[in-house]
């Protein structure tokens, strides 16, 4: 095949891409070692500066290479260079250009590149902002980049009968990946089109959520870099002061990325809510929780000199957990347990090496260097702010451990299988099972985490750092706590008139949310009224309180309004009676105080949108409010089956009403079932004269006029068509129901198009 001169290929771009990956990798290593030497010779300013200059130049080459890889691949995707496997896999001619970025990071290689791009930019900012920390922090970032770049190497090493793979390159040719007869044709590009992007991901959330999330992941590298720098230099106090803004921005951006994911799940995916405790969601939340724990111990360290070690560990773990999360979501290990993890690509050992290398590096470094951390000998008071902030951080870490433990169940099973394979023992019976109902499993534990954190974040503000005379202020403290607790209980009790708080635990959860809200609001008004720049933390804690209130409202009080068991019994499965209704076109159905009518649907490309009207009814059954909702389903590109059902939501200040299509007639869900239905129909043939009547088994048919013009709205006439339709009146022999229909048949050259008519009686109950 190598002898064939292919027409229309652009091999130069692939070569440039591979060259840029190598250049980026080599320059990252060079920058790493030059920075290390720059620090090593720090006492000799001239030598140190020479190494630093070399390191900077290397880094700029590295950043330029990384940005160029990104731009080059984007250019190839925009220009549909289908000879490249990655381009072919994620782009086709039908892809709207607004989704080109989403298509870019849809695949493993593209999302690694996104992460690499953010690191490159962050590195440039660090060169200008980290000042004296530059030589200590940049090597960590550069080594992370080097590891990430190996993920897009695409090197295959033959090892005996198997081939070991280092990375997966986005610049590999389609004909090098696939073995197909078409590649014997020199002009194969003229007859192929890209497979294109997954239709489910063609939405604006896919454009904005991954870049924010990956920026958050990339920013988690910075606190880790500082921690390494702090341990090596022994300048712990300075390190923890300088790292804090980076940690704050990392937590804010990563949190925003997670929040956008939640909003996507709520708005576009049928998760039936914003958080489903999906493993991929969990593993983006855990690094954030650990980072937030680190932020709080960082505050303690800056104020009191305590918790330096725990801060180092929490920041390091936040970064390592990002890498662990990368392993979980990209190795294919979660394939069966998550709706949106990547499939296996043969990179699992490389991903394991990635996070274990950094974990091992940090562990060794910590135990070699942490003896320079001076412990504060005097024990902190139980009534001090730092004590309770530390307890809060531990609670966050404990929550993270619980989440990680359950989310990692597929990993334990894989480890067992691995050892079983080595020892030739079947260890499948030792496999652990993931929780059948993950939402209630996680909620059961995390409910208490939230209560503890809410109470602590409400109370700790009124305690002082290094408190040594709490007794003098105890009365004032307890009075304030009493007032906030009293207000919380009062408002929680009032809330029970509007929402359900079915057990004391939920009452406590709701009350804890109110407690931290009131407590922080008071603090904001009393102490930060004239210092708004310092109000960030109280705003965060007030937000946390409101979030808990929202969780109780929207989670515990979430209510299926699509229910009318009396009317629907027999129409849908008994187990769905409490949450689904079957709506027949143009037949209004009453459900939970609403009259809903399904008016039909429209199809645009692969989207089928359903038109629903809702009328809210008062106690007398009168219509008092009207609104329309338009949920849709997305079909696969070839319309072979429904790929996804997307909700439509009415937003109001007090509540949202969220609807989605739970099911369709089987023949409209997939083509196979449509064929099965067509094959199962038992047709009998009858003949009838115009203005005459014929009797079938259960019905009679009276024929009317014969038409040669187009009567059917689904028929699009073409030149040369012969279309015949007949007006029929169809009656049921057991009652007086008469349906007027006009079946139609079209002869288009040798093709026969049959527009038969389905008659459906509204009285569907037996």
């Amino acid at each position: 095949m190598d002898q064939i001169q292919y027409v229309g290929e652009h091999p130069i771009f692939g070569l440039i891409g591979h060259g840029l990956i190598i250049a980026a990798f080599v320059s990252a290593l060079l920058a790493t070692f030059s920075y290390i030497w720059s620090y090593k010779y720090r006492t000799d300013a001239t030598t140190s500066n020479q190494w630093k200059q070399l390191a900077r130049n290397s880094y700029f080459i590295h950043a330029f290479s990384c940005i160029s890889i990104f731009v080059l691949l984007l250019f190839m995707m925009v220009n549909s260079y289908y000879e490249y496997f990655y381009v072919w896999s994620h782009v086709n001619d039908k892809l709207p250009m607004q989704y080109i970025f989403a298509a870019f990071w849809e695949g493993q290689e593209g999302s690694f590149l996104l992460w690499i791009l953010w690191h490159s930019i962050i590195g440039i900012v660090m060169i200008f902002k980290t000042k004296e920390w530059e030589s200590l922090t940049l090597p960590v970032l550069c080594m992370t980049q080097a590891f990430l770049l190996t993920m897009i190497f695409g090197i295959h090493i033959p090892l005996g009968e198997t081939v070991s793979k280092i990375g997966s390159s986005p610049f590999v040719l389609l004909r090098d990946v696939m073995d197909a007869p078409i590649f014997a044709k020199p002009d194969y590009l003229s007859v192929i089109e890209g497979r294109g992007m997954n239709v489910l991901l063609q939405n604006y959330w896919m454009t904005i959520h991954p870049p924010i999330l990956f920026l958050g992941f990339a920013l988690c590298t910075v606190p880790f870099s500082y921690v390494v720098g702090g341990l090596i230099s022994g300048k712990h106090k300075e390190c923890l002061k300088d790292v804090q803004p980076w940690s704050l921005i990392a937590a804010a951006i990563l949190g925003l990325g997670i929040l956008l994911g939640a909003a996507w799940a709520y708005e576009a995916l049928s998760f039936n809510g914003y958080w489903a405790w999906d493993p991929v969601e969990n593993m983006s939340l855990v690094p954030w929780l650990v980072l937030v724990a680190g932020l709080h111990t960082n505050l303690i360290a800056n104020a009191t000199g305590r918790s330096v070690k725990s801060t180092y560990w929490f920041y390091a773990l936040a970064f390592i957990l990002v890498l662990f999360s990368t392993f979980l979501t990209r190795s294919g290990v979660l394939g069966d347990s998550s709706a949106h993890a990547f499939t296996e690509m043969g990179l699992e050992w490389q991903l394991i090496l990635f996070f274990t290398a950094f974990l091992a590096f940090f562990t060794v470094l910590y135990f070699r260097k942490s003896n320079s951390i001076v412990d504060v000998e005097k024990e902190e008071s139980i009534a001090s702010r730092e004590f309770w902030m530390f307890i809060g951080s531990i609670v966050l870490i404990f929550a993270s451990i619980l989440i990680t433990f359950t989310t990692s169940i597929p990993v334990y099973n894989k480890i067992l299988d691995f050892w079983g394979g080595l020892l030739n023992i079947n260890l499948v019976s030792y496999h652990r099972s993931a929780p059948l109902d993950p939402i209630s499993h996680y909620n059961k534990f995390q409910l208490w985490t939230a209560i503890f954190i809410a109470i602590l974040s409400g109370a700790a503000y009124y305690l002082r750092y290094k408190e040594n005379n709490f007794a003098a202020k105890a009365m004032g403290f307890w009075i304030k706590m009493g007032i906030f607790a009293g207000l919380s209980i009062l408002f929680s009790w009032i809330a029970t008139f509007f929402i359900q708080l079915p057990s004391w635990q939920y009452f406590l959860f709701f009350g804890a949310g109110l407690f931290t809200f009131f407590s922080n609001l008071f603090y904001l008004v009393k102490f930060f009224r004239n210092k708004p720049k310092q109000a960030g933390s109280v705003i965060s804690h007030m937000g946390f309180g409101l979030m808990l209130i929202g969780i109780i409202g929207s989670g515990l009080n979430k209510r299926f309004i699509s229910t009318n068991p009396f009317t629907q019994k027999g129409m849908i499965a008994d187990e769905d009676l409490g949450k689904n209704v079957l709506l027949i076109r143009d037949a209004p159905m009453v459900m939970s105080g609403y009259e809903v009518t399904y008016h039909g649907d429209t199809i645009l490309q692969n989207n089928r949108t359903f038109n629903l009207s809702f009328d809210k009814l008062n106690a007398k059954g009168e219509k008092v409010e009207h609104f329309d909702l338009k949920p849709n389903v997305v079909y696969e590109r070839d319309f072979s089956k429904v790929a996804a059902s997307n909700p439509s939501t009415l937003r109001t200040l007090k509540k949202d009403i969220y609807v989605h299509i739970a099911s369709l007639p089987p023949e409209e869900i997939n083509a196979e079932q449509a064929k099965e239905k067509e094959d199962s129909l038992k047709f009998n043939t009858y003949t009838v004269n115009s203005n005459d009547t014929v009797f079938a088994k259960k019905i009679f048919i009276k024929a009317g006029k014969v038409h040669f013009d187009s009567q059917n709205k689904n028929y699009k006439p073409e030149q040369g068509d012969i279309a015949i339709s007949v007006d029929l009146e169809v009656g049921n022999m057991k009652d007086d129901t008469i349906f007027k229909v006009s079946p139609m048949v079209v002869l288009r050259k040798e093709l026969l198009l049959n527009f038969g008519t389905q008659i459906n009686d509204l009285s569907t109950k037996n």
Partner: protein, 180 residues
């Protein structure tokens, strides 16, 4: 009882169109108000009627009536850009399939073509399946989320607060210079 049927026209319905003699096309040119005869049935070309409901194409109907003035068919002539199309109409009383193939507004004349098609009104073949299930429904799930805006507002405030907290740190950092 569930009353659900699928009714189709059997392809044999096209048979009369291809019977011997039916493919002989007759041509006729008529002015508005002209009388003509097909298979002994007296008919009138009453008038043109231009439809103006579609701005992208011109549609002209030719109105044909019987001797009592009752409309028996309205063959349409459609012009889209440079091309034209004629719909055939079945005149059941005259057993004829007629189409308006050309129009001349200046002379108020139109050209028609017709075939004699016998038997289209008799023995119309139908295929009826009485075991067909309905397909005009959806199964809907609707959920009410009370107070969800507290969740969005609260979580957004958490992130904004985190970002906001950088402000005083940056100010302090700019004023300090430590050495490693």
């Amino acid at each position: 009882m569930i009353f659900q049927q699928k009714i189709e026209l059997h392809p044999d319905i096209f048979k009369p169109l291809f019977e011997k003699g039916t493919t002989n096309t007759h041509q006729i040119s008529l002015k508005q108000g002209d009388e003509f005869e097909i298979e002994g049935k007296k008919l009138f070309f009453k008038q043109f009627k231009m439809l103006d409901n579609d701005p992208k194409k011109i549609i002209v109907n030719g109105i044909i009536t019987d001797s009592e003035g009752k409309i028996v068919g309205t063959p349409a002539f459609e012009i889209v850009g440079n091309s034209s199309r004629s719909d055939k109409v079945y005149l059941s009383d005259a057993n004829a399939l007629i189409a308006m193939t050309k129009i001349n507004p200046d002379t108020e004349t139109a050209s028609f073509e017709y075939n004699i098609v016998k038997g289209l009104n008799s023995n119309i073949p139908l295929k009826v399946a009485e075991n067909s299930t309905r397909s005009d429904y959806i199964v809907l799930e609707a959920v009410e989320f009370p107070g969800i805006n507290f969740f969005w507002l609260g979580s957004l405030m958490m992130m904004v607060g985190l970002g906001w907290s950088i402000l005083p740190k940056l100010r302090k950092k700019n004023g300090r210079n430590s050495s490693i």
